[in-house]
Amino acid sequence: MSQVHNSNVPNYYVPHQSKWPIIATVAVVAFIYGIASMLYSSKIGEASATPSWIMLFGLGLTVYMLYGWFSNVVQESQSGLYSPQLDKSFRLGMAWFIFSEVMFFAAFFGVLLYVRTLSIPWLGGEGAKGVSNLLWPNFTAHWPLLNTPDPELFPGPSATIPAWQIPFLNTVILVTSSFTLTLAHHALKKDERNKCTLWLLTTVILGIIFLGFQVFEYQEAYNHLQLTLSSGIYGSTFFLLTGFHGAHVTIGTIMLAVILVRIMKGHFSKQKHFGFEAAAWYWHFVDVVWLLLFTFVYVI
């Protein structure tokens, strides 16, 4: 750590005053408050347009904030303000952020595990809490759950999405995209800009194709299989897991697209390109989540 005293390495850069965080606060709060108000007013049956305007304002401000804040950081980085120590702070920050995301998904996988191995068998009369079968004596445990305990409240789906068709294709697409991303990274490290651009573009396109298939699959589920959010616990967990995963793919694709633009603008160097790496970590994380999801939601 003695290099900290070295005069050609800048001190740890502490920005003095920034307007971005408070803008970020207002943006996020407005966005979330808008959504909450929309849901609230539809619940109490008082439809009004104001909440959606608040939400849109928040969304717009979020986009502006992200653009402004990141431009600010990019500028600072390019003017050489960032020491290796600061670079490490960004890395640690991103790594722990991904860990928090891991725990977010872990909760949802936990739900799936609990429902499949404990509560549904109990409802079907098995095991330590088999008495709960008294509630719906006609219910028999099975998975995927096509017949819910109370089909009038929660009519089950007629079928589920088969694993070895679109989902498998999507698995191939996502795994491939992780490879193309790594190829892009290697190209960047060798300063082969065009190659990097090409592979990164391929990755973004693969991400978009994945999302397209996902939308198609959701339409299939809603229109032909009666597999919906309200078709009992199978639909609930299915859309929860795939939905949040899809949202993360969307964010990851946007991140990679931004990085692509920056590559084309000539940002990053062969040694320093943490923005690229952060987006790549995120992408690989999303990929791993998909592999688990494919296994536990679709295959078994």
């Binding site: 003695s2 005053q17 920034s18 725990m103 759950l145 305990p149 616990i233």
Partner: protein, 534 residues
């Protein structure tokens, strides 16, 4: 205390370094990236919330002063218990400790600021908004959240008031703030230590916060997941917590307590850190068993992930689960005992003096142990069938939280206030504050043990006549404890406004650590070039 080493505020405020002149007024606070400013903001916020949450406790205790319904409707009573709990947990204890971390961690490890100063500002400013949203639910049609701070489904889904949607998004916002705050703290501790400060040389407060930050990043997302599923059950027709669709209301409890039990350690570990700083300082001896303190803290944190269902013994778990969670819970008592042993051994044959921080710390050790022991009673599954959802549980967690977490915060404020403000607080008044709080809280919470053992259920606005006497004592104690905190407010304001002796660089003769190597008050920027630690 040596007055010649003192430094007045005026001298420090003149910008002698290359830093920009510091803006004043509201923009200073809105745009700040300074860990000291942000630390102060957190602490002030937490103080405001303490009085709001305390006001709710006042209403609860006024209603329970006598049997029968006197002041408030049962529906409103339920909103008060719910909001009191939520505010105290998320609005008082957590932000206060984050504020302390912001102020002290960089000073204790010799860092120029937090690792990610802008995100730090963001983490703070979300909080006032989140709590405004939460508090606004009280004025909505159907009232605010009324299902208890644990918001069990289906009370919080099928039978919830419409305002629950705002509650859910409020929780999302606080979670966002906590996660970003924790990422910042963990990154600061791992990456910003002065050269020579190895992990095993870190002050205990820094260690406990490192582990707390880890717990926060691990469980706040799980809480976010829980409220998200609630939201979907309420608005989008899912059936996560509805057995009619194949879900399970008990599943909610599992998810909640997987977050909830680590959460109680999030509220106590930093307090452990605080008293581990203070007791050596006033016993004028190094901390006994530093290494075992570190390992004990880490084991508590790890164990806290596998004990959650001790909150659910009576919900109908399979017998193996009852046994597993009973024994794993009891295991936690071992590292906890190690800590108590170490604090006592630190005091043993020390040359002790009892200034306010020490008074609060010694009371912490004694009274927290009472809370730990009632916890041990609760961890015995068959016994918990008797105690569960009675006032005994209320007594237990108030003993670990009030003379535990809250006393830890107060001890920290008295201990470090001279460093923050540059002035000594009023010691006689602080001692009075301590004794009144001490008497008040024991009057409030000790009788709750008896009430609970005699069978008084928690979360009720009225009770059977045989509970009347103890309830009256409890309410009197609560009023005493509550009003005493106005004295605390007065002492803090006086000290912050500079009414008091100027504080020397190191106001406590036995205190050790980098934070005492800089002037009091700490200048806005410290350790721009890292100090050398050996």
């Amino acid at each position: 205390m040596n007055e010649t080493t003192s430094i007045s505020t005026k001298e420090v405020d003149t910008p002698t370094t290359e830093h920009h002149a510091h803006p004043t007024g509201i923009s200073r606070w809105l745009y700040t990236t300074n860990h000291k400013d942000i630390g102060s903001l957190y602490l002030i916020f937490s103080f405001v919330m303490l009085f709001i949450g305390g006001g709710m406790a006042f209403m609860i205790r006024a209603e329970l002063f006598q049997p029968g319904l006197q002041f408030i409707e049962p529906e409103f009573f339920n909103q008060m218990t719910t909001m009191h709990g939520l505010i105290m947990v998320f609005g008082v204890v957590m932000p206060a400790f984050v504020g302390l971390a912001n102020w002290m961690v960089p000073l204790m490890i010799g860092a120029p600021d937090m690792a990610l100063p802008r995100m730090n500002n963001w983490s703070f400013w979300i909080m006032p908004f989140a709590f405004s949203i939460l508090l606004s639910t009280l004025f909505m049609e159907g009232g605010g959240p009324n299902f208890g701070w644990t918001f069990y489904a289906p009370l919080s889904t099928t039978y919830a008031p419409p305002s629950t949607t705002f509650f859910i998004f409020g929780v999302h916002l606080m979670g966002l703030s906590s996660i970003m705050g924790a990422i910042n703290i963990i990154t600061t501790i791992l990456n910003m230590r002065a050269p020579g400060m190895t992990l095993m040389k870190m002050p205990m407060f820094v260690w406990t916060w490192l582990i707390t930050a880890f717990l926060l990043i691990a469980v706040m997302p799980v809480l976010a997941g829980a409220v998200t599923m609630m939201l979907m059950d309420i608005h989008f027709g899912t059936s996560f917590f509805n057995a009619a669709g194949g879900g399970d209301p008990v599943l909610f409890q599992h998810i909640f307590w997987f977050f909830g039990h680590p959460e109680v350690y999030i509220m106590i570990l930093p307090a452990f850190g605080v008293v581990s700083q203070i007791i050596p300082a006033f016993a004028r001896k190094p901390l006994f068993g530093y290494k075992s303190m570190v390992y004990a803290t880490a084991s508590i944190a790890i164990l806290s992930f596998i004990v959650w269902a001790h909150h659910m013994f009576t919900v109908g778990l399979p017998a193996v689960a009852e046994l597993f969670f009973m024994y794993s819970t009891m295991l936690i008592a071992i590292p906890t005992g190690v800590k108590v042993f170490n604090w006592v051994s630190t005091m043993f044959r020390g040359s002790m003096t009892f200034e306010a921080p020490m008074l609060f710390s010694v009371a912490f050790v004694v009274l927290f142990t009472i809370g730990g022991l009632s916890g041990l009673m609760l961890s015995i599954a068959p016994a918990d069938f008797q105690y569960h959802d009675t006032y005994f549980v209320v007594a237990h967690f108030h003993y670990v939280l009030v003379p535990g977490a809250i006393f830890g915060i107060m001890a920290a404020v008295y201990y470090w206030m001279p460093k923050w403000s540059g002035f000594m607080y009023n010691e006689p008044l602080a001692k009075l504050h301590f004794w009144l709080s001490f008497i008040g809280l024991n009057l409030t919470f000790f009788p709750m043990h008896f009430l609970g053992l005699a069978g008084m259920p928690r979360r009720i606005p009225d009770y059977a006549l045989q509970f009347a006497d103890f309830n009256m004592i409890t309410s009197v104690g609560a009023f005493l404890f509550g009003t005493t905190q106005l004295l605390f407010l007065y002492i803090v304001i006086q000290c912050a406004r500079g009414k008091g002796e100027p504080a020397p660089q190191r106001p406590w003769e036995g205190a050790e650590g980098l934070e005492w190597s800089i002037p009091s008050p700490a200048p806005l920027h410290t350790f721009d070039t890292p100090p050398k630690v050996d």
